[in-house]
Amino acid sequence: MATRQRGQPARLTKKQKNENAVKTFVSAFDSSEDEGPEEVTFEDSKAEALQSVEQALQSARREKDLLKEKRKKRQELFQEQKKRKLLSDEVLEEIDSSQKSHSEEVQDASVTSQDEVLHMDEETKQENEKLENSRKLIGNYKVTVKPSELASSQQKMAEDFIQSRLYGPGSRRTTSNQLLSLHNKRAINKSAAVEFTKKNWAEKRKSKAEMKKMRWRHKHIPSS
């Protein structure tokens, strides 16, 4: 069979494979038809077999080692990335210290006498000015609720729901002009559709032109 000019080389068919096998067999036969078989000692063959086994083992080990190294490298890379993401130790220390001092202050405020409490309350009030409606939870956490946003978002969602049910997709709506045009079409004296000509065309342009006219008039006509 001729070789193809394009595309992948054709795979050998079964017939061709058989022919190849026969050829090698035949060539082996042809080369040493009269001579006797080669002598291969037992030890040699044993050594050969052992070697081949060793080689196989080694290659397997090498592959394993390669994989191990790859894994190690990946782990190191991830650790480095993680380190970069987290804040540095210094910053963490600072935050810790500030939180502790804040909690200490609040505790102090509750412990000291009434006069001092008043003063401290004022200070904490000033500090908490921004955090109105805030409550303290366990573990130095504060919760603030912004009620208006939540309520208005719910209201907006409800409005969207009703808008989509009545005017959204699948509601088969048309415009008021279409409705009026239908009336005109079916009336006894049939007339044109409503807004057949668009009267409010180029509104901005027209208003700009008006302004320019007024300015020109003020400029050029001697005003009293």
């Binding site: 719910q154 409800a158 709506r173 415009t175 008021s176 002009n177």
Partner: protein, 685 residues
């Protein structure tokens, strides 16, 4: 009669607001209507459907449902709060947060002790109604989806709640759900789409009626929790349901704008197997019908096309009378336009801002019916936005055009204007007397030296205005001690008298020189809709909601001869059949016998020197008189000269220079700006 140049004003871009919810109080015959800008209006159905009270809304406020408890009015909206309204001071009395997220439905039981509220988080919350507040009592079992509609059983033992895809019946004692009924999706709807049960009613014979977004009205048995009947009335949503007090007639409002009536009838003449049968369909709206009320004799509907339509049912009312006519309420029954007579300025009141315009000028002369060319176009001088969230309640412009005042629920603001040809200077008067914190009605005196503001208990606060400051002078209190709000104020031209009318039908006249109550006009059964004091004869002219006209002499403290004559003769039947109230009365400075009135569809000049019309003769005969020769005209002409050329009218007044200002708002302009209606396929289009 006279020729007038008419300023035809069509640049007041007034947009009415869509209706969202309504509730009818059978005891007091009042209808409370909530609009999408959270304003509430109260209509008096026994007084020719007059819009008695208006409670302005807030920006960002929303009302989803209204409920009457006795004579108290509660509303609930998407802000999660239940609001009770003070109907005497026209403000919210207090708000209670339900803490359940946005509220979709509110309903009270027949004994008027408990209020149930359906919330976004799936809970039905019960509040106890106490004498002057409400208190949270308990929650019912929490559901997984939002509660869209609620209804109490008349005995108060069960509550039916419509949620997404299902209806639950709760037992009021235990709060647990006794039955669960699943509502089917419409044919052809995708599997993921949920059906919303928009409205639900619990009848006394344990039937539950539900209207859902698949267009079905379904009847369920409340004892066993099973479906009895289904009626598919529309391809779109069924948004509202209402049942009559005797539970024999049911109405359902749809997204297409149709209102379908069902009646509890038996198909054969015997009483035994009665069923809900679909009877009538009313097509009075072009857009979605979101609010319905069933009175004893009529079907009231309102929705996104901003019109309130009252359709009397012909099997409960005599035919061909005024009672049986269809009634459409389009515009508010109070004046939104203030005209400064001396300076030709117009003040337009919008819910969130005010606009001051100067009228155009023309110097042409022409025949009657011509439109004259404009020498100077009308221009907008000031666009004033309100500060804060509350909508504008009332506004006033002084006759000389130098002072401007407006009031919201929380504050009154006064501005001094100086308008020369092109220079406009506006300065706010910052220190107002503390007693003036809000005003239901504002009025300037004719020489712009005093401002009158009405406040609680029907009293009027008088404040004097000088160059840049204002001082409190006096509070005028009526002798009767009424607590109803004042809705009309008028100061006479010579500065001597002040007339104030309240929604209880009382008109008080105060003497401004002595700062005392001068007299009280005998109370008439109908509420006054417009009043004015004649500059020359000092007679108080009042027009009431049932179209009666009275003239009261202030000096003699009795009705004038002309007024008594009019009552004896009786008004023409066509005049009495008009369905929109007169909102403005004005006078002609050159001819003291003329009174100019207008309502939405006509303006009329009453000539007191001419004879009154016969009941058999034609009332609006101006057009026919023109074609008749001169000698015959005198025989046929009468006192009421009606002009219907300019419609629909928001305001018509006379300026000092003998020209008439007519503010129109064409309905097509409103219709083109309404939100999207549903698409309906009509044959051959």
């Amino acid at each position: 009669m006279g020729e007038f140049t008419v300023h035809r004003v069509r640049f007041f871009e007034y947009m009415p607001i869509a209706l969202r919810a309504m509730a009818y109080n059978h005891r007091s015959e009042r209808l409370a209507v909530a609009r999408t800008d959270s304003s509430v209006e109260i209509f008096n159905f026994s007084d020719n459907y007059y819009q008695e009270k208006v409670i302005p809304g807030r920006e960002g406020g929303s009302i989803e449902a209204l409920c009457w408890v006795g004579l108290r009015l509660f509303s609930a909206g998407l802000s999660g709060e239940i609001i009770e309204y003070d109907l005497e001071n026209l403000q919210p009395k207090y708000t209670v947060d339900a803490y359940g997220g946005p509220i979709w439905a509110i309903s009270s039981d027949n004994k008027e002790t408990k209020l149930a509220v359906g919330c976004e988080d799936g809970t039905v919350k019960i509040f106890e109604i106490l004498k002057d507040r409400i208190q949270f009592q308990r929650n019912f079992e929490r559901q997984k989806s939002r509660i869209m509609s609620l209804s109490w059983h008349p005995s108060g033992t069960c509550v039916a709640a419509g949620t997404m895809n299902m209806i639950r019946i709760f037992d009021a004692e235990t709060g647990h759900s006794a039955h669960r009924m699943l509502v089917e999706r419409g044919v052809g709807a995708p599997r993921k789409s949920e059906v919303v049960v928009w409205a639900i009613i619990f009848l006394s014979n344990q039937t539950i009626i539900s209207g859902d977004s698949a267009g079905k009205v379904q009847m369920w048995d409340g004892i066993t929790g099973t479906l009895v009947q289904t009626h598919l009335i529309t391809k779109f949503d069924v948004l509202a349901l209402s049942v009559s007090q005797d539970e024999s007639s049911l109405i359902a409002g749809t997204s297409e704008g149709t209102v379908v009536q069902f009646q509890f009838l038996s198909s054969i003449a015997d009483q035994q197997n009665k069923d809900w049968v679909r009877t009538r369909t009313f097509k009075n709206h072009s857009h979605d019908v979101r609010a319905l009320a069933h009175t004893d004799t009529a079907v009231v509907s309102g929705g996104m096309d901003t019109q309130l339509v009252v359709r009397p049912l012909l099997d409960r009312v005599e035919k061909n009378t005024k009672e049986s006519a269809l009634h459409k309420i389009l515009f508010p029954h109070r004046s939104l336009v203030c005209c400064a007579k001396k300076s030709g300025l117009l003040l337009f009141q919008f819910p969130d801002h005010l606009e001051l315009w100067r009228l155009g000028e023309s110097d042409g002369h022409g025949k009657p019916g011509d439109s004259l060319p404009l020498k100077k176009k009308p221009e907008k001088l000031i666009h004033l936005k309100r500060k804060g969230e509350d909508n504008i309640w009332c506004s006033a412009l002084s006759p000389c055009g130098e002072w401007l005042a407006f009031s919201t629920i929380s504050s009154v603001r006064l501005y001094r204007l100086q308008i020369h040809d092109d220079d406009i200077c506006m300065s706010k008067v910052s220190k107002l007397p503390k007693i003036l914190h809000n005003a239901q009605q504002l009025c300037f005196s004719s020489d712009s030296s005093k401002l009158f503001a009405s406040c609680s208990h029907s009293s009027v606060i008088v404040v004097s205005l000088s160059q840049s400051e204002c001082k409190y002078v006096h509070t005028l209190k009526p002798k009767s001690g009424s607590r109803q709000p004042v809705h009309l104020l008028y100061a006479s031209d010579d500065g001597k008298w002040l007339a104030a009318a309240n929604t209880g039908g009382e008109v008080h006249v105060y003497n401004l020189e002595k700062m005392k109550c001068h007299c009280k006009v005998p109370v008439y059964s109908s509420c006054p809709t417009a009043l004015a004091i004649h500059p020359v004869s000092q007679n108080l002219v009042m027009v009431h909601a049932d179209q009666q006209i009275f003239e009261f002499s202030l000096e003699q403290k009795e009705y004038t001869r002309w007024s008594r004559n009019l009552q004896k003769h009786g008004l023409h039947p066509h005049w009495l059949k008009r369905d929109t109230p007169v909102t403005h009365v004005a006078f002609n400075p050159k001819n003291p016998a003329h009174i100019l009135l207008h309502d939405m569809f006509m303006f009329c000049i009453i000539d007191q020197s001419q004879p009154l019309p016969d009941p058999q003769s034609q009332l609006s005969n101006q057009m026919t008189l023109k074609s008749v020769p001169e000698c015959e005209r005198l025989k046929h002409s009468h006192a009421f000269k009606i002009c219907k050329t300019f419609q629909p009218l928001l305001c018509a007044t006379l300026l000092d220079d003998q020209s008439v200002v007519v503010v129109e708002r064409p309905l097509e302009d409103i219709l083109t700006q309404l939100p999207a209606p549903v698409q309906q396929k009509k044959f051959a289009t």
